[in-house]
Symmetry: C2
């Protein structure tokens, strides 16, 4: 199974040694030996075919045989800003699936009604790397640490900016229809609230900062399902442009 | 929290007593008493507002105050036929999410390369009911037991029929583009293979039986992610028609 021979090496083109955890996996689990073929990805769009040159108990050195540069499967940029769910396994699977489907950046929001205000991004990082390998995507999405909602909306991000919410008293456009229309920018930022939704005040604050209020459809979705839906919809549009 | 007061009662309009497991939840967990308001859904598109009339240690009787009939949020019919994954938790979350998003029927396929050939549909049924309550959908998707691939493809289902596969040697159309085009039927059946994909022979057999070979996009998706993607794409199209 060649699939298990994919390794994530951030500076693969410059280095000649696997990082410690990848080396352990290569040597202790896969029992790779000198001369074995391995595949590296640097998270920035490059694949490398390499050969193990030294396999000692703690180190795994390699020699690159071929470098392939791959263009991203989608145009533009998908940035998901989401309030983490109370149960962190729900965020974990959402990130696994979003990575498989393809997206660029995630920011965790600290909102008025957030059920969780701290998050271990190192664990999420490992889940993303594993999903990158599994789906053979050489681009690594950026994970940002938790940020206060009001700080996030004040950033001067350009492109299309949306906030999904469930209040009937604030008119919402359909997210999928909005991103389907010809737009001046292919950069999509979409905010998804916590289990108890954004506060009305937060929705207004976002609107004042250029965010369009939207709905993701007629269904009532959990936070993590809404996050994945937004990524899938963006991917459908941006990968077919 | 009214949300926890939703109960699934298949024959709610004819009966006046909660089924045993729902009664236990109502009385032991929520500690409902005579006169408390509850909400019932029958899985066939009806909501009921009711009042607890008797709350004994084992039984919970109700009196219906109002019946609301709801049209489905999407036109047509979404039937997912999927080979269950080796790890059953992956099928469980997929069904939870597909129910939230909205679909009509799931059939589990026994394929040449299936990693799992038995499945406990009773557990999946409970997950679907819980997702129905959470997303307040009064329609219950049909769960069919495992069926052999060759038996399934020979059924004379009408409507649009698709088989998703990853073989480069068999030309595939883009699933989303296909379902976006005007079609004579709003009934979509889509087949998703196991971890090791369908066999080439299975893909050919499906094509002989009227299935169009398709791809779900440029990403390499896990079985459960592919299943959910197909449901989400169908839902995007059918709920906006």
């Amino acid at each position: 199974m060649k699939e298990t021979r994919y390794f994530y090496v951030p500076d693969a083109g410059l280095s000649s040694e696997l990082p410690a955890d990848e080396a352990t996996h290569a040597i202790r689990v896969l029992r790779l030996k000198e001369g074995d073929e391995i595949f590296l990805m640097d998270g920035c769009g490059h694949y490398f075919t390499a050969e193990v040159s030294v396999a000692s108990s703690k180190h795994c050195m390699y020699r690159i045989k071929e470098t392939v540069e791959k263009n991203k499967d989608w145009s533009g940029y998908i940035h998901l800003a989401i309030a983490p769910t109370k149960m962190s396994d729900r965020m974990e699977w959402m990130l696994e699936k979003a990575t498989e489907v393809g997206f660029d950046e995630v920011t965790f929001l600290n909102c008025r009604f957030s059920e969780r205000r701290t998050l271990r991004t190192d664990r999420l990082d490992r889940i993303i790397v594993s999903a990158m390998k599994q789906s053979r995507k050489p681009w690594k999405p950026v994970i940002n640490p938790m940020m206060d909602f009001s700080e996030f909306v004040k950033r001067n991000d350009d492109g299309q900016k949306y906030i999904a919410h469930c209040y009937n008293e604030i008119a919402r456009k359909d997210f999928f229809e909005e991103i389907s229309r010809p737009q001046t920018s292919d950069r999509i930022t979409v905010m998804i609230g916590p289990e108890g939704d954004f506060s009305i005040d937060e929705v207004r604050q976002a609107m004042e900062n250029g965010y369009e209020p939207v709905s993701l459809g007629r269904s009532r979705l959990r936070t993590e399902t809404a996050g994945l839906s937004a990524v899938m919809m963006s991917q459908i549009i941006l990968s077919r442009r």
